[in-house]
């Protein structure tokens, strides 16, 4: 199978798992894991968009510029993914921190009990 297509399919599966886990699983840690899967699915989509089947976008000194620009993958999505990983890590870290507070206080991680409307 084409590598780009396989990446898109994997990304789609990750996104569906992430969406299901975020809204239908009753455990805050599992919800966080699901969100992580959703984020990874989006990151994989971005990487797959930039993949052209060619070489990595690092130009060796001896390589000709014309050849490089024709064969290298699109580097912009890779830069985006790198930034997104950092943002996502900080968001998940705050959520995990709050989960610890919730567990210490209520001795449960059930989101139906912890996140119900006041």
């Amino acid at each position: 199978m084409d590598l780009q297509l396989a990446s898109f399919i994997t990304a789609g599966i990750l996104i569906v798992i992430g969406l299901y886990g975020t809204f239908f699983v009753d455990n805050v840690i599992k919800k966080i894991i699901a969100l992580s899967a959703l984020g990874n699915g989006v990151n994989l989509t971005l990487i797959a968009i930039g993949y052209t089947g060619g070489i990595v976008p690092i130009k060796a000194q001896e390589m000709e510029l014309a050849l490089f620009s024709m064969s290298a993958s699109y580097p912009l999505p890779q830069a985006l993914v790198l930034t997104n990983i950092v943002i996502e890590a900080s968001m998940l870290a705050i959520m995990l921190g709050l989960s610890i507070v919730f567990y210490k206080k209520y001795k449960t991680l059930k989101s139906s009990e912890l996140l119900k409307d006041d």
Binding site: V42, L46, N84, M91, I94, M95, D117
Partner: protein, 482 residues
Amino acid sequence: MNLLPLIVVFPMFVAIIFNYLNGKDKLIRPMAFLMALLLLVLPFIGNYGIYNFGAHGLESGLASGISYIYSPMKQLIITVLMLIGSLVLITGLDEKKSSGLTVALMLMGLASVSAVILADDLFNIYVFYEIAAIAQTGLVIASGTEKAYRSAFRYLLLGNFAGSILLLGVAFLLSATGTLNISDMHNFLINNPVTPTIYGGLLMIIIGLCYDSGLPPFHTVKADIYARAKPFIAAMLQTYSKFVLVALMLVIFKIFGGLSYFTNAHGALIAISILGMVFGVVMALLQTDYRKLLAYHAISQGGYVAAGIALGTPLGIVAGIFHAINHVIYKSALFIGAHLVERKKVGNLNALGGLLPVIPTTALMVLCAKLAISGVPPFNGFQSKLLLAEAAMNVNMPELAIIMIMVSIGTFVSMMKAFYLIYLKPCSEDQLNEYKKVKPSKFGIFSLAVLTVLCILLGVYPNLATDLIYPFANEFGRMWTL
């Protein structure tokens, strides 16, 4: 020399310093005051026009780095944003324990919202959109109550979901157009046929817009964080949301405006705005908690802003942006008024009463803000709501104008109910003596006074703001009728 990036970089850098100063109260107070003054200078350090930086700048007519666009309209929005930030910082000086972390988060939010307003590329907008969400969550957590933690978690949970969906939308548009620069993306779209990927991208960006601006279906979670944060911090949070709403709506119009297939999205955006207006005011009428009442009104007024811009006509865009500016001014006054009331150790509307003789000046200023939000002349809310109704009539949508007027009546009723319960309802002598023991906050009253003066000033001279918005709207908006 063009110092435009400093509008974003300077508050972000100072936020790091405040973060390290957390706990050193004696140092934080004077520094926060100094920062409050410096924030007022920031909108005036940049030149108008396009500012390219990073990567290789412009290459064969395409922007390869980060582009910021600055215009008088953006300067006006950033000036109001920084003014509210400055007043909130000043109000916070009265807090018993100054927290460097709170100031840091506030500055981080100011920097990121400024970047969302200035940026001309989708990824930069996404990054700062997420940083603004983190800053807002931090500010809610800073209030330190269990309910605040729960609200913050719910907000982050949906924030992570909406952020991922927004990024997926950006990815779709990148794959369809090959660029992230908004101007280049628009030029590509008008010269090429539409594909399903572009529809998907548009839909996902609208989901991201709804989350950060508190439009349905995310209105309850947004109202929740306004209600759980300290009231003077909620003033800051709702300012962030309104300006992100304006920025993202303008981004959507800049990318897709003028394209034949965007007509349906117009309708969808107007429908979401109407739902926001109606849900917000109905929920507000049901509230007995003053903070929640104000929070739902913030959602309702967000609907007005979105409806104005979603009309897409020059008058609609002017009305929407002008209403966003007016809204952040009078709603900040109301939240700071709530902060002054809460210092009297009471929060629930049913437990309040008789505060008029205790804080008469505050009561008068809060009444002005309440009349402004209800659209009563001669306050600023009247001017922008009049423009909004006129814009709806111009595109042959009298029903939208009627809904706006009805929502305004609902707002007036709930605001007057709250005013009666807090300031006019008779209370016992003991309760009155208890209220009088608490020292008034001079900084809070100063901030409230500045905002009240602005409510009247923009109500009497709306041209001060609209004259700056019209040139942008005339260039940007398009005439259409149903």
